[in-house]
């Protein structure tokens, strides 16, 4: 009986152990099958990059507007009312072409008035003349002299009046119409039919034969290699793929400007001396008024280049995350390590590092989760 009880106890314990063993084996199988999945859920994945040595290239884009080289502002100096505007903005005109016709009634009226005045003067001259003849016949020396003086004054008045009429007629001829001074394109029309000139030029016209020009403000550093006469590629914004050739005509000192557009995310904007480039453009495709840009490149010394994505900032101090590998009997484990660096320069994609990193030292480019120093990571 006692033996049987003992046997039962043993089998009861064995059953439990069998259960435990099955559970253990099952657990090991499950972990074997799913540990990778669990690992992916618990450990951030990091993508590494190897910094390279090279020259940092700054690309700078300067923008400007295309303008005609020669432009004339045409105004009616007399301020007459416009009766007819024969051109509109963008019209090509030839030299001598009529642009605006003005109301000349007032001027004609004035000329008629002045001509009437002249007639009056001439009549009064006739009278003076007969006075003089009378005086001469009378032999009165005194009255003859005064008649002669009055006759001379009358002749001067007639001359003056004639000149005034001549001038008015000239004005009438010149101001009744606005003519194109050269072959060109109308760039602005301010004249409106029925209204007098408003102070601004009635017509602005650009000379087509002299071509275009544009001004660009660029950092002095990037313009250092440029000299007058250099050719530049100028891109026309908006017009897909249109690139025209420009020639540097003038390089002037410009105001200091903030260099912000070149390095989004890289470095604080600093005050840099700027240069103003005047570039002549000759291309029939240009119309004037287009936005254009020039791209300038600037090289720095040979340095270690790290993608900007890998550079992090902590209270103004820059650092990258490096990887520390710990060997173990169960394979290597990778930990995140913070490496402070000195960034010498940067452009829109890479930063040149002068201290803190050496070539071929792997740094973390991006990770599936935000990282902290000492975190364990998976590497792919």
């Amino acid at each position: 009986m006692e033996w049987k009880l003992n046997e039962q106890m043993v089998t009861g314990r064995q059953r439990k152990l069998r259960l435990a063993a099955s559970f253990f084996i099952l657990l090991m199988i499950l972990f074997t099958l799913f540990s990778n999945t669990l690992l992916a859920l618990t450990t951030p994945k990091a993508v590494l990059t190897v910094p390279s040595r090279g020259e940092l290239v700054h690309h700078f884009t300067g923008s400007g507007i295309v303008n005609r080289k020669a432009e004339a502002a045409l105004t009616n100096p007399a301020g007459w009312k416009a009766t007819k505007v024969t051109v509109k903005k963008g019209d090509h005109v030839t030299k001598g072409q009529s642009l605006v016709t003005y109301d000349k009634q007032d001027a004609e009226q004035q000329i008629l008035d002045e001509q009437a005045n002249l007639k009056k003067l001439k009549l009064s001259n006739e009278e003076q003349k007969s006075n003089y003849i009378e005086a001469a016949q009378s032999g009165d020396e005194q009255s003859m002299k005064s008649a002669k003086r009055a006759l001379d004054i009358g002749a001067i008045d007639v001359d003056m009046q004639e000149r005034r009429i001549q001038r008015l007629q000239n004005d009438l001829h010149e101001n009744s119409e606005l003519l194109a001074p050269f072959d060109g394109v109308v760039t602005e029309v301010n004249a409106a039919e029925g209204l007098p000139s408003s102070g601004s030029p009635d017509i602005r016209i650009s000379n087509t034969s002299l071509g275009f020009e544009s001004e660009f403000l660029v950092p002095a550093d990037s313009a250092v290699q440029l000299k007058i006469g250099d050719k530049l590629k100028v891109q026309v914004k908006g017009d897909e793929g249109l690139t025209v050739e420009g020639q540097v005509e003038q390089i002037q000192d410009g105001d200091s400007g903030l260099q912000g557009s070149t390095d989004p995310g890289g470095g604080a904007a600093v005050n840099v001396p700027m240069k103003k480039l005047q570039v002549a453009l000759h291309d029939n495709a240009l119309k004037g008024g287009e936005s254009v840009k020039v791209e300038l490149t600037q090289m720095t010394d040979d340095m270690i280049l790290v993608p900007n994505q890998a550079i992090r900032d902590e209270g103004g101090k820059k650092y990258v995350y490096g990887v520390e590998e710990q060997d173990g009997p169960l394979g290597n484990t990778f930990y995140v390590r913070k490496i402070f660096i000195t960034a010498a320069d940067s452009n829109e994609s890479v930063t040149a590092v002068s201290e803190g990193l050496f070539e071929q030292q792997e740094v973390i480019l991006e990770s599936s989760e935000p990282l902290r120093e000492g975190d364990k990571i998976r590497i792919h």
Binding site: V10, A21, F24, M28, F31, T32, L38, P329, L330
Partner: protein, 292 residues
């Protein structure tokens, strides 16, 4: 007189208790430490593996063995079972080395033991002595010939280089022969009278009777092969083929934080098997008069 017997018994119990505690202590430490965090272990055992810097105020000599964790954490287990895929890989390497060895050796040894115990043929005893001699020689002695044979057969860096020598070991034959020797020949005679052949006798009569012996052999073989270090170290060059036993031989500074949990997982199959077959093992060792 009775008081003396009681005193003797008490003393014996005390001595045995102390010995048992001493033996259980490392296991207890391993288990409790496996529930500590990596940081706690690092703090407790920071002196292991390096010289104490007395100049910096460190005390030489003693290490703070801590039994109870500050708080229970399964971080180590997660680390071992999830973050270290190589651990599981090595675990299954061990399983795929040990299971074929045990299965093969039980099959081969039980048949050979039957022959040595119950078949009468010329030179049986002499052959058995030769067999025993291979068992008496330590593994290292036969290592070089083993290596050369494995190399000639093109088995280097493959599991067979360990499994094949493991299967044909004299230990199982010897142990099961001792078991079978105790089976009265009359049983075999009776079976023969009923018209049973050797295979039927072996399968129907002998195997059921030596079940405890086989169980004991399985436990001893498991313990032996689960813990083998030299064979895989020599025959398996590729790290991804090596069993878990090699990992424990390589615990270093870097992996100290997970060593305890790894040890617990490593021990678990053996402990469970031992508890399961404990009664057979005791019986088997008693009968055959040997232990692993």
């Amino acid at each position: 007189m009775r008081g003396l017997a009681l005193f003797r018994k008490l003393t014996l119990t005390l001595v045995m208790g102390v010995i048992a505690a001493a033996m259980l202590f490392p296991i207890a430490v391993t288990f409790t430490n496996s529930l500590m965090t990596e940081d706690e272990i690092g703090y407790n055992y920071h002196l292991i593996g390096k010289m104490a810097d007395i100049g910096a105020g460190e005390k030489d000599g003693f290490i703070n063995l801590k039994l109870l964790p500050d708080w229970i954490s399964f971080r180590q287990y997660a680390e071992v079972l999830v973050h270290k895929p190589k651990f599981l890989h090595m675990f299954w390497n061990s399983v795929f080395l040990v299971v074929p060895i045990i299965a093969g050796q039980v099959l081969v040894a039980s048949l050979a033991a039957y022959a040595f115990a119950k078949l009468r043929f010329w030179g049986r005893e002499k052959l058995f002595v030769v067999y025993l001699m291979t068992m008496l020689m330590p593994f290292q002695v036969t290592l070089v010939p083993n290596y050369m044979i494995a190399d000639k057969l093109g088995l280097m860096n493959s599991n067979s280089a360990i499994i094949l020598p493991g299967i044909f070991s004299a230990f199982g034959v010897f142990m099961l022969r001792q078991f079978m020797a105790h089976i009265p020949y009359l049983y075999i005679e009776a079976a023969k009278m009923d018209g049973a052949g050797h295979l039927r006798i072996f399968y129907r009569v002998i195997v059921p009777l030596v079940k405890p012996g086989i169980a004991a052999l399985v436990v001893l073989l498991f313990a032996d092969n689960w813990n083998m270090v030299e064979q895989p170290l020599i025959f398996l060059e590729e790290a991804m083929k090596q069993p878990l036993s090699l990992y424990l031989s390589r615990i270093n500074e870097g992996a100290r934080g997970v060593a305890f949990a790894a040890s617990v997982v490593y021990m678990a199959p053996m402990v469970m098997l031992f508890l399961y077959a404990e009664s057979y093992l005791v019986e088997g060792i008693q009968l055959s008069g040997i232990k692993g």
